[in-house]
């Protein structure tokens, strides 16, 4: 999996992922979110546009990130989940926890 982070004004960081968010990649995502929050970006968007697979390990990393950002007064939002990611969110009853935004750039537009 490939990772990159784009920083925006207002304490927003967009984490772009490409590939499979599985047990191999989950730890790296947790670390990236923790670093973004520690560097003053507690509002994190995880851009899932190019994630063609996510399992429960990847979901665990998102939940970890959600808790990390909220403890810092921010939030974690997801953007553009693919069909497989939506299926996992649906079957684990996590759709109500992670509202999916159409694009990473709009996830924090309204606060």
């Amino acid at each position: 999996m490939e990772f990159s982070v784009t920083e925006r004004d207002g304490g927003v960081a967009i984490v772009h992922l490409t590939g499979r968010l599985n047990m191999v990649a989950a730890g790296r995502l947790r670390d990236l979110i923790s670093v973004s929050v520690a560097e003053g970006h507690p509002r994190v968007v995880v851009d899932l546009t190019n994630v063609d697979f996510m399992d429960s390990s990847g979901l665990g990393a998102l939940i970890s990130g959600l808790k990390t950002t909220r403890q810092a007064g921010g939030d974690l939002r997801i953007a553009a989940p693919t069909e497989q990611v939506q299926l996992v969110l649906q079957l684990t009853n996590m759709e109500r926890v992670f509202t999916a935004y159409g694009s990473a750039e709009t996830a924090f537009v309204n606060g």
Partner: protein
């Protein structure tokens, strides 16, 4: 489709990881026509959860060797995994999802939601796992 499409993989972890299972599935999807997207993503998700569980929990310190066989027929998708991990008392009663902020504990419940049958048995010193999903297409 005539003969069942069968693919096998022997995985030693470490250094191998679940990406080898994804790569095998890419070969399966290239080999089998007519599978729906829902069937593919459901089977792949269940199989990766199962393989992750074996790699992540069955390693007693000396690594784990896992032999995977995938068979796709006209009406079903099946996978059998045999691993050298520690044999345990496996409880496969219907699982429920944990608290929504729990960071783990969803794997078996997710598998059960995605396949029609999940079975575990012991074959000598090996653990044998088997999943079956009936095809919708």
């Amino acid at each position: 489709m005539g003969e069942p499409a069968r693919h096998t993989l022997q995985l030693e972890s470490p250094p191998g990881d679940v990406n080898a299972v994804h790569d095998l599935l890419d070969c399966v999807w290239a080999d089998v026509t007519g599978l729906s997207m829902r069937d593919r993503v459901s089977f792949e998700t269940a199989l990766i959860e199962l393989a992750s569980n074996i790699i992540g929990h069955a390693d007693t310190g000396s690594g784990v060797t896992c032999t995977l066989t995938i068979e796709i027929t006209e009406d079903r998708m099946e996978a059998t995994l045999r691993d050298t991990g520690e044999c345990g008392n496996i409880d496969l009663r219907q699982r429920s999802m944990p608290d929504e902020l729990a960071e783990s504990g969803r794997g078996l419940a997710l598998i059960q939601a995605l396949v029609d049958d999940l079975d575990y048995s012991q074959e000598g010193n090996l653990n044998r796992w088997h999943i079956t999903r009936k095809r919708e297409s």
